[in-house]
Amino acid sequence: MHFEKNEISLKDASNRAPSIEDLIEGSIQLGSLPTIFYQINSAVENPESSFAEIGHIISQDTALTARLLKIVNSSFFGFSSKVETITHAVTIVGMVQLRDLALATAIINNFKGIPKDVVNMRSFWQHSIAVGLAGRVIGVYLKEVNPERFYVLGLLHDLGRLLLYLAVPEDMSRVLIKYSHGGLLHEAEDEVLGWDHAEVGGRLLRKWNLPDRLVEGVLYHHNPSGAPRFQVEAAVTHVADIMAQVLELGNSGERYVPPLDGEAWKILGLPTSFLSTVLAQVDRQAGEAVKVFL
């Protein structure tokens, strides 16, 4: 799905920042996910669905099918034999995981066609992919069910900022001026606009009817210990964001390593010695992940 920049631009005659509600409601194209995602989602959530049925739904979208097969056959999964059909992919990767990968693919696709002078999209996704990879490695270590959701969270965590750059570029210019005087970018957003990209992203996901786990993971990625229900999602994304920033893989606008929420670190209970493993794996996987996802 492609969109034109002017479709989402929110010009405010009063020159005041629009309300967050206006921003979310005004983002026509970004405000929806492709129908096929919802079809996949409802099939995955129906306990009577078979692998073949889900395979059939996905196969109707040839571009999505091709992309998912490329991902499943990459070192991201490391299967020894080639996966040639979506039904086979569903069988070995799992329905929920494949649904999450379909979501990741749909979201990246949704933002294609954005002019380079607005945002360096490659750099933006590089950062998001690095956060996703780090989150996935942490999720596997924590023996969390469906670690792919942490990958999706990484892809989504800064989506709100993308919306800000695109929909309210003049307000974002004011934010960037504030940021240039010191402090963190999300703090500058909050000071100038009254809310930050995490809130915008969380609300956008809520509008997309995505699960609360994802909504909270995005909403609280700078303040994970404040998440009311899904602290693990928020904490994993928070730590993964810090690690991606340390690796300096891509950039979504922030130049500095965000402060670590000590409570969130305690919630995860990770040994510090594990950090080197995460960094090494992300560094190794990032190049190929960027190739298969972008």
């Binding site: 300096e248 390593v257 040994p271």
Partner: protein
Amino acid sequence: MVLANHARDLNGGLLLAIGEKITDKHILAFKAWGITEVEIDSYEDENGIVEGQSSEINVESIPTQVREELDELFRYTDRRHPAIEELIELCILKKMKSH
């Protein structure tokens, strides 16, 4: 790679003790005993640099440019937290390798 926990066979017999360095020979032995995964404590790169262990980096040996980049990158982070200390050290190793 160094073991983070004892590696035991299916009957609980000790195969390799915690803290031991894992060699190719050990991996073959693990496979023979049906052990598909073990917990490791550190990662050793192709240059033999063991990450994940506190390698005491001599501050004087860090190039000024690397130190300045680190000061900038970690400007708003509490460097006293053990996780951040570890990340700073890993960041120094990475930057020194690429300089």
